[in-house]
Amino acid sequence: MRTMMNRKSLNQIMASVLVNSIYAMKNYPIMLINTLLAPLSILVIIVFISRGALIGVGIEGAFIMAMISSGIGLQSDLSHLKNDFKLQDMVVSSPTSAVNYMVGMGVSELVYAIPILVILSIMAAIFLHPTLIQTLILIAVMTIVYIFSIALGFFFSTVTTDVMQSWGFTGIISTLLSTIPPVYYLITYIPLPFRYIAYISPTTYAAEIVQSSLGFLSITQTNLIIDWIVIITVTVIVLVIAIKKSMWREV
């Protein structure tokens, strides 16, 4: 009985992966190039401007940004499927739960991230030579950032009623998570009073952890602990809100 339940959930999760990424890539291969372009182009600019000095930070930033793009992509993909095709309406009236739909769509965004993650991993191996601990910290932070951005994207998508509105949310999420925070460079580059603005964004804390673990940034032990507490707490809160408050059945 239990395994049957799990198999069912797995099929439901797989359905989203097929719809939103595998079939989409199969039928429109151009999608693949698109997923590579954005993070790589920023990375190249950073490396050029810093004459190579920031390549390490840039790679680390691109890893985190790949996760954030997943959340931003999820938000607009879901709004599109919900409002233009009414797919979500059909799924709501099916045995698939909101959580399985969210997880499936989340994984589908991760599939898009695979090519860039492979390229970045190769670059990291060449330029960063991370130790095992550093690698684990990077993966842990990436996972948290991924869950955070997916939950946020899912929540916003369920409250949108048309695609125009969803573009508005995309703008807000991407500014908050990827423009304000110093992901591709160090926070110390920002003059002090403005630095506090960066701390509005949870991404800043994530970047600090990884940057300090890789030795680009030195922060105190206390600050490091605070960084972890902040990103974990914020992620849990957003996740709970996404599961409890997202509009699955309309009111």
């Binding site: 719809v19 039928n27 009414k86 797919l87 059909m90 709501v92 009236s93 698939t96 309309e250 009111v251």
Partner: protein
Amino acid sequence: MQSIVCRGLSKTYSKGSKALDSVSFKFEGNGILAIIGRNGAGKTTLIRILATELMPTKGTALINGIDLIKEPKKIREFIAIVPQEAKAVHWLTPKQTVVSYLMYRGIGFSQAKIKAEESLKKLALEKQINKLNRLLSGGTKRKVLVATVLSSGAKIIFLDEPTTGLDPISRSDLWKLLNTLKKEYLIVLTTHYLEEAERLADKIGIMEQGKLLAFDTLNELRKKLKYKYSIKIIGTEIKINYKDAVSINGIDGNQQILTNENRSSQISQMLIKKGVKFSTNMITLEDIFYYLVKKSIIEENEDNDES
């Protein structure tokens, strides 16, 4: 046995408009329930509530005895819907559309592929099976969605305007299919084609301004109306004494009179004497619809005038 029991379902949207006004009815067994009504009457609102997509403001409904407010999850195991504005996802093929939907219902990939092919075949979509939905005609896209829910094995199916946009042949093919399916399924559909309701429905619900004006079989609807005959005067307008008769002018611009058997023969003889062209028929669903909706609008206006 399948059943849908609505108990005082009401819906007021948060933006203010009252879309559903204590709708109650009971439908038991397999068969087709057709909901008809003008634009904005509340058909989609009703169907979305029954499909557990939308919360009612007041009242509830039992689907196979299960309360849709308390236990939507149980209900979702055996219902499926094609929403009014649903579109087959552009970047999928019909087969991929059905396969992914079946997987949302918990069915495994290989099983889903077999079922998808079967279902698309039933709707004569073999040729389109691997084309992109984006490239299909509007009606074909609609058929893909119908095939999608029919493949699911769900025993209660909601179709919100399934034949809108279908050509006459595809429509009649779908009617044939629905007519065979209704032996095994409970299908709730909305339509603006009254002929569709006449041909398919075991019960017909007529809605206007959120209210269910009538809910019965076509025969019962006919019986309940005191007028059984419809006289259509062609090409001219004649002054008539509306004793035991009512005018429902407007369907095709011709003067039309609903009346009883006695009065019908009186009026006919009068018309023959005058040499006027006319036809006499048993009332159709269209006549009943016109009569009830018009009556409801007049009553509504009277209520407003009084208050």
